[in-house]
Amino acid sequence: MEDKDLVSKVLAGNQMASRLLIDQYKRLVGHVVARLVDDNLDREEVCQDVFVKVFKNLNGFHFDAKLSTWIATIAYRLSINFLQKKKRRFREDDLEKVSFEIGIIDSELEDSDYAHFIHQLIMQMPDTYKTVLTLFHLDGFSYPEIVEITGMPEGTVKNYLFRARKKLKELSAPYVGKEIHFI
């Protein structure tokens, strides 16, 4: 179902459409929230709050942006608000200053272990880098859309993406083809 049809059905009171909207976007919301919020229970609560806000404000959404961009923006902002409430600083530090913890390396490494290793490294990155990487790679947003979601300038988004990928390659290159036990 097209987003416009979906939204108009939700606004018309169609409960199935409300369910469909949640089912369609919970993966995206989960990605954005889980990259910034650490605890699983907190993640779930923030994800719920994102959708509560989406439904509350859906009347005022006029498709100036894609529905996914709008929902991701809400998820990003609510996650930052949550971190502030929990007195956990939103990390925007320099990527080069982060000391990454890498596991113990044994023998051959499967693709799924490599992916797990990469995601472990991403979780150690500053919040801005994590978000940009996730939005670009996992959710397929374009640079202008990431700009809209995060409020960062396009140059910064491109720079973060380039540096994050470079760092991941640097860190993982020596271990490709080996087994890693995560700390």
Partner: protein, 106 residues
């Protein structure tokens, strides 16, 4: 060995270890309904509180001046009071019809 760029792309496009529970959709819809009920309740208490305040003020004026002539200067505001009350009622009805029914959870 597979090119590291390809391997990295594949890894970055892969889901990470977080999944929302199976009943997440229901939980959200229940939470939406709870929030609406809370808003309705707040509205009820606001209206009740305001009505009590108005009645208490009227009673105070009546007791202080001892007769209804004290209300004469206020009579010119009566039509506005009715218009205001009417508007609040219309907004409430529209809100109920257009917004609240949207997310009814059975």
């Amino acid at each position: 060995m597979e090119n590291i760029d390809k391997k990295l792309d594949k890894a970055l496009n892969q889901e990470f270890d977080f999944q929302l529970p199976a009943d997440f959709t229901n939980q959200v819809l229940i939470k939406v309904k709870e929030k609406e009920a809370k808003t309705d309740k707040n509205m009820f208490w606001w209206i009740t509180g305001l009505s009590i305040l108005l009645l208490a003020s009227a009673a105070g004026i009546l007791i202080y001046y001892g007769n209804l002539s004290a209300f004469k200067p206020l009579l010119s505001y009566v039509p506005w009071l009715f218009i205001g009350a009417g508007l609040v009622t219309v907004i409430q009805i529209l809100d109920q019809k257009l917004v609240k029914e949207k997310l009814n959870v059975s």
